[in-house]
């Protein structure tokens, strides 16, 4: 019977349906949420990178004569060489006479650094542990109970403990935020691994003698990329908030380094009289976290439709 030969693949006819996978990423960058969130985030990144040339002055510079000025006040500065210069403090100054605008702009660096660092570190560590936990069944129970234990530690309490042991600083803060985040990534990766390892194509790879490490990196790990990117954005947003909260409580970044949390902490006492000390860093903080969350939502809708409401 000639039926079989009829079915021979016609190369031309199937080329039309090609590259479905790659277009998923194209779809993602066309998603309005991703565009809006990504644009705001890109602006924030630019601000962080270009902080010194955005009309800022030294954010740690104390000016006893120009304390607690409202936004828009013109201030006369005495420069190091003895001359004076005038400039408008568009966001006012704080109780030590430091320029809030410069502090907020430089603070962007700290916030973004914390967000990105936490997301990357937590995802990396979590992925490795999650792969092991999902694939090596006898280790699973043991690892997951440790993870459950870690999840029970509130990040802020851990940070307080760490700061009292080590010195306060960026590394300590990042470490304190990463620890309770890792189990979330582990759970996600583990669940993907558990589902994918039952797929016939993974069993097919086992039966053609594929070594375990190739199995993991070639056949299993790529399935975790999309959900991890989504999870990573949410981790970054949460980390920025936690860092701000820690700094606000005085247990995060040391006060001499400008971070949004520090600026707000400093402005807390005089909030009723000079709200600008809290208002401006607050706006930046909210905007950044909102942008990351919007982008994460958009990425989830396109890359990981199972997790989103609309299919």
């Amino acid at each position: 019977m000639s039926a079989i030969s009829e079915d021979v693949v016609d190369s031309a006819s199937i080329s039309a349906a090609s590259t479905k996978r790659r277009s998923l990423w194209l779809l993602a960058i066309r998603n309005p949420n991703v565009i809006i969130g990504g644009t705001i985030l890109a602006i924030m990144l630019l601000i962080a990178a270009l902080a010194p040339v955005l009309g800022t002055i030294d954010p740690t510079r104390i000016d006893p004569a120009g304390r607690n000025k409202k936004p828009g006040t013109e201030i006369t500065y005495k420069l190091d060489d003895g001359t004076t210069a005038k400039r408008v403090a568009i966001m006012g100054t704080d109780s030590l006479g430091r320029d809030v605008y410069s502090r907020v702009i430089y603070g962007t660096r700290v916030s973004l650094a914390v967000g990105v660092a936490v997301a990357i570190i937590a995802v990396l560590i979590g992925t490795i542990i999650g792969l092991i936990s999902g694939y090596v069944r006898w280790l699973d129970g043991f690892i997951m109970r440790i993870m459950d234990g870690l999840m029970a530690i509130p990040g802020i309490l851990l940070a307080i403990a760490l700061v009292s042991i080590w010195r306060a600083g960026l590394i300590t803060v990042i470490f304190a935020i990463v620890v309770p985040d890792v189990p979330r990534v582990v759970r996600l990766v583990r669940s993907v691994v558990l589902t994918v390892r039952e797929e016939p194509y993974v069993e097919g790879a086992i039966s053609v003698g594929t070594p375990t490490w190739i199995l993991m990196f070639r056949h299993i790990l790529p399935n975790t990329v999309a959900p991890l990117i989504v999870q990573g954005t949410f981790l970054a947003a949460a980390a920025i908030l936690v860092e701000a909260a820690l700094s606000f409580l005085g247990i995060g970044i040391p006060p001499e380094i400008p971070s949004w949390g520090n600026i707000m902490a400093e402005g807390r006492t005089l909030f009723r009289v000079f709200p600008h000390n809290i208002f401006f860093p607050g706006i930046f903080l909210a905007l950044t976290v909102l942008a990351i969350n919007i982008m994460g939502d958009g990425l989830r809708d396109t890359l990981d439709p199972k997790m989103s409401k609309k299919v």
Binding site: V8, I14, V208, G209
Partner: protein
Amino acid sequence: MSTEAKRPVLEVRNLSVSLPSGADRVHAVEKVSFTVSPGEIVCLVGESGSGKSVIAFTVMGLLAKALKPTSGEILLEGENILAASETRLRQLRCTRMSMIFQEPMTALNPVMTCGEQIDEVLNTHTKLDAAARKAKIIAILARVKLPEPERIYASYPHQLSGGQRQRIMIAMALVLDPVLLIADEPTTALDVTTQAEILKLIAELQDGQGTGVLFITHDFGVVAEIAHRVAVLRWGELVEMGPTEKILSRPEHSYTKMLISSVPSIHPVHRDVRKDGPTVLRTEKLGKTYSGSGFFQKARVVRAAIDVDLDIRRGETLGIVGESGSGKSTVARCIARLIDPSEGKIFLGDTEIATMKASKLRPHRRRVQIVFQDPYRSMNPRITIGESIIEGPMNFGLKRDEAIVRARKLMETVRLDPNSLDRYPHQFSGGQRQRICIARALAMEPELLIADEAVSALDVSVQKQVLELLDEIRVRLNLAVLFITHDLRVAAQICDYVAVMSKGRVVEYGSAEQVFGSPKDDYTKALFAAAPGRNWEFGKFAAA
């Protein structure tokens, strides 16, 4: 049974349903017309994508929003459903027309008892009081032959078997005596013995009530069993319609001829087997026990396979047939060492592999290859089929260039274009993918090829091609094949020897002719008796 000139309960006239733009064709259903008379069972038959389910959903007014009926009308007792409002449709559903689905577990609400779910129908559509409703429900549960209706009334769906759940669905569909029952592949998810009971039940109920039934299926065995008239669909068009007997024995359209010719016969063909080949695989008292013991739960022990003794020689096909849960796949996966057997021995040639450590096992992996059921999940969607095929040989030290040469040859063996090696799995159809999987298995130059329900997910015409290919490869490479299937017809056509499994044990084992011709075990007899359309010999028509 009679189909005299009564007014049809359902009349579909010139129905077209359009697909969203970007689909592979313009219409899901195009200019389809047919009728269903009272007391008549009309089967819509077609392969996947033929539009048969779309017709059913259009009639029920349950069509997905992306699909739009563009022309024609659907008359239910003379009333045009396409023009009916949503409120009117809601009134009609269950009272005048009902539908049962393929998968009764997902069609029932898991958090409501079966009684409550039927009660909901009555409560919505009738003014009966609680006691009258309950009496009516108990009566319908008895009518669909469910044991202990009172107990079933209070049971949740998960407490019932698949067949019982489908009976609940039927009870719910028929409780208000609709004139039209639409059954969308209602027995496809069920075992063959359960399927036979459900088919019998549907036939009895509709005969007694004079209900018209629109029965959707892809299985010609079921058609032969139940249909009065048959409508054959292809790519949304109705190619042929007529009384069952005529369509099955004297089809006119070439497509119908091709379809019916593709249905494997239930009578085994005589196959010459050289009984002198060396034994490739032998199992001795192979067993697999699953024991799930949680920290706080009592240990549950499931014996999935018990004392399985099999042997296969070179060039032979051994079939394992059985219903779901009979342990046939467990045996296959133990032999491929995808799971570790709990007891017994597996000899691959002279090597015992049942208890071999994973590290020592690796060289022997090459010798047994497996082809899985689901062609859509058997290949990593992220890598090209070429990479999939050469992965195995390269694991065993073959150079990339040589592996690619081998892959190209194998693509020709499985009748695919060797130049399509750089394509991704989603660019192929189900049958093509299954061939690629066969090529991937053959790339390892195995001694034993395991086909675990390898053709079950395929349409009958594609199934035939893949079966022919498998058999051809077995002869050419003198392979031993272990063929796992639930489909007796397929087993009859491809197997030299057959092992019938039930509840983890091999209950009958012998040559295909012997097992099919004169089954000895009661279970085997029951299994054969339940095969749909067993009394019907599907003709082989010259393909046009």
